[in-house]
Structures are given as C-alpha cells and as structure tokens.
C-alpha cells in the first residue's frame, strides 16, 4: 500500500519537473537583451555574433533548443557560467554548502524554540504565557527578514561590542581560523575531479560538519558564532509559523476523548502530553516544517545579502542581474527540484504518520 502510494506521488511529480525545466528555459530566454552581446560585450561584431549563436545552437528552432537543454541536464551537464568561466556544477558544489548550513541552522533554531513554545501555550491555554507567545508569533510572521537581520547585526555586533555576547556581523569564519578540509586532515588520496571529489568538496565546505570530522574545535566555535545571527534572522518566520501550528494542533488533540481517557486511567499529565497528545499533533507540524524549508530558500537570498554570505541565493540573484544564463537556469532548476522533492517527502511522511491518507 505504502509503495503504491509512493509510486503514485513520484509519477505525479514528473510532469511538474518538466514544467519546471520549461519555465526556467523560457525565463532565461525571455530575459531581455541579446545573449551574444551580453556575453561577449557590446563591441562584438555581426560576424562574431553569428558564429557565437551558431556555436551555442541558438539559431535552432526553439523546441530543438529545449530538447538539447533537457538532455544536457539529464546527463548532469548544466553548462558553464559566463562570468566565472567555470562549469556551473562546480559553482554549485562551492556555494550550496553555505545555503544548506544556513537553512538547516535556521530550521533547527525555529523548531527548537517554536515547538516547545507552541506546546506550552496550548497546554496553558489562555494563560499569560499563551498570550505572550501568540503576540510574539504574530509579530514574527510579519517580520521583514532583511530588517530583522540588520537590526540583529546592529545590536549584537555594535551595541554589545566588547561584551561576551558580541557576534560577528558577516562572513562564515574569521580570518586566520584554520579550516582544512577533512580529506586533507585524514590524508585521503582523492581523484582530481569527478563525482566523488565534488561530494568530498561539498562536505568539507559544510564548516560545522567539517569541524566535527576533523575535531577542529576552534573552527566549530567560530562557525557557530557566525551562524547564530543569520540563523535567527532566517528562522524567525518559520519559528512563528511552527509555534502557531504546534499550538492549534495541540489544542485540537487535547480536546479529544482519548486524552481524557488517558488522564482518567491515571497517567500523569506529562506522559499524556508527550506520548498521547504531542505525537498526534505531529501531522500538521510536518507540513509546516516541510513547506517552511522552501520559504527558507527564498529568504536565503535576503539573509545571504545582509550577512555577506556567498551562498546559492546570493549567487543566483547576482547571476540574474548580470544575465548569467548558465547559473540562472541551473540554480533555479536545482532549487525547484529540491522544493518538489521536499513536498514529496512531506506527502510521504504524512502518509507514514497517518495511514488513512494512503487509502484515498
């Protein structure tokens, strides 16, 4: 039953994936300006441009171009970045870790604070704690990410300067902190390029993971310090959403008969809340958390801009303004595919948590 359900969901995602490829292809083609002169410069002559267009296959019918694009991507060939003269996949392996680390830190912060807040305000319904949490959650969802980031930087980097609470306003690591990749510390011999190399590069650029792998406590401390402010800025909206959802889901469950039964048979309040109520309120929470991850990617553009991080969001934004088609197409596809996969995982975990969904 479960396998059938998963197959159905995966099959339903395929047309959406094709749509994504088409939209990114179309958007990149629609960006105004002549691609030849955008790449080779304003002074390119007609003859040079003609050759360029023929070489890049831009003179072929639009459907043929789309076909070539799709088959290239299927083979893992995302093309080159014009500005950096590098394969886009290399850039992606370089920039993605920053965004992944930031997103997970933000999600971690939002769950760590949001879930307990929501549960407590449901259990103590209408108490002052509930009121304060809900006021706070309402303010949280209304917060412009970029404003919050700047204000946090102002408070923690300037006002709290020379106190132990000082936090750095930008970057990922302080200069001078050793950040040798784990494969060098472990003295692994890696192939010069290729898939395994890229994966190792990717892992080594996840600073916190790399610090743990190499037992580099200085790097670990420094990376975490750099990550706190961006993670709070990016995590505030999901935190508020999670707190609200946790509260309403818990409230609904706490009103059920089986909760009263559990209490009546003599279980402690604590056991009833954690074992009976919380588990049953997980379902809507999973959806909110999954969907927040998608929103985090959008918010990452703003957070990365403010905190001077060169992650996927910032790179994509720079590429769009610089008409770097290669990056725009590849990064948008990767983000959108990631988003679709995420929704798929949410759907599947939903079915796992609630057997009734599999049947419909």
């Amino acid at each position: 039953m479960m396998i059938q359900y998963i197959t159905r969901r995966v099959l339903a995602a395929i047309p959406v994936l094709f749509g994504i490829l088409f939209v990114t292809f179309a958007l990149a083609r629609l960006i105004p300006g002549d691609p030849c002169r955008a790449i080779l410069g304003e002074k390119a002559t007609e003859a040079i441009c003609d050759r360029f267009i023929r070489e890049k296959g831009l003179d072929k019918p639009i459907l043929t171009q789309f076909g070539i694009y799709v088959s290239d991507i299927a083979r893992g060939n995302f093309g080159d970045s014009i500005r950096y003269s590098l394969p886009v996949t290399r850039l992606l392996a370089e920039r993605l870790p920053t965004t992944v680390e930031l997103s997970f830190a933000a999600l971690f912060v939002s769950m760590l604070i949001g879930i307990p807040l929501g549960v407590v305000s449901a259990v103590r319904h209408n108490s002052w704690a509930d009121v304060v949490t809900m006021v706070w959650a309402n303010i949280g969802v209304s917060m412009p990410v970029f404003w919050l980031g700047l204000m946090l930087a102002y408070v923690f980097s300037l006002l709290l300067k020379d106190t132990p609470f000082w936090l750095p306003p930008s970057g990922r690591v302080s200069p001078g902190v050793p950040d040798d990749p784990f494969f060098e510390v472990w003295k692994l011999t890696l192939p010069e390029s290729g898939f395994i190399f890229s994966v190792c590069q990717f892992i080594s650029r996840l600073n916190i993971l790399n610090a743990l792998l190499t037992a580099n406590w200085e790097l670990l401390k420094d990376s975490i310090k750099h990550l706190i402010l961006p993670a709070i800025a990016l995590g505030t909206i999901p935190m508020a959403l999670i707190a609200r959802m946790a509260r309403s889901a818990m409230l609904e469950v706490l009103g059920q008969d089986y909760i009263r039964t559990a209490r009546a048979k003599g279980l402690t309040r604590y056991v009833v809340i954690t074992k009976h109520a919380f588990r049953n309120s997980l379902l809507p929470l999973v959806t909110v958390i999954g969907l927040s991850l998608g929103g985090l990617l959008g918010g990452a553009v703003l957070t990365e801009t403010i905190f001077g991080l060169s992650g996927v969001g910032r790179t994509l934004y720079d590429a769009i303004t610089a008409r770097d088609y290669g990056i725009v197409q590849a990064f948008t596809v990767v983000i959108a595919v990631f988003f679709v996969l995420l929704n798929l995982i949410v759907d599947i975990s939903y079915a796992y948590l609630d057997p009734r969904i599999r049947l419909t």
């Binding site: 959406v16 209304s142 404003w147 959008g298 983000i335 988003f339 929704n343």
Partner: protein, 318 residues
C-alpha cells in the same frame, strides 16, 4: 411556520423586533470580539488615515532634497532627528525623524510610504484574485483536460520558492514597482486558483445547482450566481493574509533594487538605501522596517481574525 410567525408577532408585541442578521453583520461582530483583530483593524485604520492625509500632515515634500540649502537651513546628510521642543536650535529646520542621505525629511517619506504599501497590497491581491478566480472556477466547473492543464501549471508555479520566482519574473520584465507588483501578483495566483477550485468542486453537484440548470440557466449564470458566492469566504481570508505577504515580498524586491526606484518613498527601498549605514544612522534603517512590520502585522491579525469569524464550525462562539 405559523408557530414561528406567532412567536415573532409576540416578540414584536413586547417591543422586541427580530431583525434579520446578515452573514456580514455576524462576521463583523465576531471580528470585533477578538482583541488581536481589533488591534489589526486599528493599525489599518491609522494607516489609511495617514495615507489619505499624507499631503496635509507631511511637513515636507517626500522627494524634495535639501542637499543644496544654505546655512543655517543646511543640515548634514543622515542628520539625527531635530525637534525644537527637545532642545534643537530654533534657527534650524525641524526634522522630527531626521533626514536621509539626500537630506530628505524621513518623517514625510515614511508618511507617504504608507500610500505605496497599501497600494501594493491591494493591487497585487486584486490582480491575483481576479485571475486566480477565473482559472480556478473554469477548471473546477468544466473539469477534464482544461482543469488538468490549469492545475499542472499552478503546480509548476508553486514549485518555485515564491520570492525567487518573483525575482526571475522582474528580471524578465525589467525592474520597477509596477513590474514587481505584476511579478508578485503572478506568483500568488495559484493560491487563489486552488481555493476557488476547491469551493467550486464542493458545490458543483449540489441539487440547487442542478435545479438552476434544469430551469435553463446558462453556464455563466450558474458559475457566477450559484457557485462562486461559496468561494467568497475563503477568498476573503486568503486575500487578507495575501496582502500581508505581498507587502513583505514587494519590500524584499525593493530591498534588492528590483522594485521601487528612487526617489519614490517606498519603505523597502528606503531601508535598502541606508543599509550600509546601519551602524552610523540606525534610525534610517529601523523606522522604515518598523513601518513595514506594523503594516504586515495589521493584515495578518485581521486575516486570522476573519478566518475565525467566518468559520461556521465556531458558530456557537458568537
């Protein structure tokens, strides 16, 4: 029936009249019973008043740069607030919230900014609701391949993080506030299309719809007079919350330089222009952001309040 009539007559005789209460009156009353919604309505009312009266209450022209004014009228760019009753020299012009980098009065710019933000919110959501309703209604009512095509397109739009898709669309259209609004509008269409489609599907096969069809009602008549009114409540809730998101996204686009262009007093743009001065002139970053947050908060509070007020499952609360 007669029983009810006698009851009404009896009540009338006692001087009590049974007035019919419309859904909107009930909603309005329930909305006013929620403290958070009242706070939201109050902020919104204040914003609307500011937006309408900006030209009379703003002390300066929001786009007027006083960079070349001669002393003592001349003040430095990004000067701190100067209020006469708080000890600012009388011969200096009064700027209660200071001036920005081009020596424009920050207070006046903030006041005028409310017009732009409210306009952004209503314009984008109206656009998205109109298109989303048509798409959702047509898809839900006629079904088949048309419905399938429309909803797959909506799925694709939803597959992109909304802000990123909006950025991409603005890049295609070219930066500017109108294009930013269009982009945010396009990005938010799927939400409304889904809401309307769900409502249409839920009543399409109802007896009263069949009855209208049997009486010879046209498709358009059935759709607009019999089916769509059912979608109104969820649309209103979604729309109010959508205004909040639209304002937030528009401010983000302006912050990235893709939305409002200078010298327009748009809050996101004002904040973006001064973001590198956050350590030296924090008030120029703090105030526009606060204004954005309060506006978004107002719509969020009203939207949440409306959702509860319009929820028939909570009818017994009223």
């Amino acid at each position: 029936m007669t029983h009810a009539n006698t009851k009404v007559a009896a009540l009338d005789a006692e001087g009590l009249s049974l007035k019919s209460v419309s859904l909107w009156q009930i909603t309005w009353r329930r909305l006013f019973r929620r403290r958070s919604a009242v706070v939201g309505l109050f902020i919104l009312l204040l914003l609307v008043i500011i937006a309408i009266t900006a030209q009379w209450i703003a002390p300066y022209d929001p786009t007027l740069s006083m960079l070349d004014a001669v002393p003592p009228q001349h003040i430095k760019p990004r000067a701190m607030p100067c209020v006469h009753i708080f000890g600012c020299p009388e011969d200096q012009p009064q700027h209660i919230l200071g001036v920005d980098a081009n020596v424009r009065d920050e207070f006046s710019r903030l006041l005028y900014g409310s017009r732009i933000s409210l306009w952004i919110g209503f314009a984008t959501v109206t656009f998205a609701i109109v298109i989303g309703t048509v798409l959702g209604a047509v898809g839900g009512y006629f079904g088949g391949w048309l419905d399938n095509t429309i909803m797959r397109v909506m799925d694709v739009l939803l597959a992109f993080p909304s802000l990123l898709l909006a950025i991409a669309i603005v890049t295609v259209l070219g930066p500017g506030l109108t294009n930013a609004l269009l982009a945010i509008g396009i990005v938010s269409i799927p939400a409304y299309a889904r809401v309307v489609r769900a409502s249409v599907l839920s009543v399409r096969e109802m007896d009263y719809v069949s009855a209208t069809r049997a009486l010879g009602g046209s498709n358009l008549q059935i759709l607009f007079r019999r089916i769509l009114p059912n979608a109104l409540t969820p649309l209103i809730v979604q729309g109010t919350l959508g205004i909040a998101t639209a304002i937030l996204d528009a401010a983000a686009l302006s912050f990235l330089g893709l939305g409002a262009q200078p010298p327009m007093p748009e809050w996101g743009k004002m904040l973006a222009d001064e973001r590198n001065q956050v350590f030296t002139a924090p008030h120029l970053v703090f105030l526009p952001g606060l204004a954005i947050m309060l506006t978004v908060l107002a719509f969020n509070l009203i939207g949440d309040g409306l959702r509860d007020a319009l929820d028939p499952r909570l009818a017994h609360v009223s």
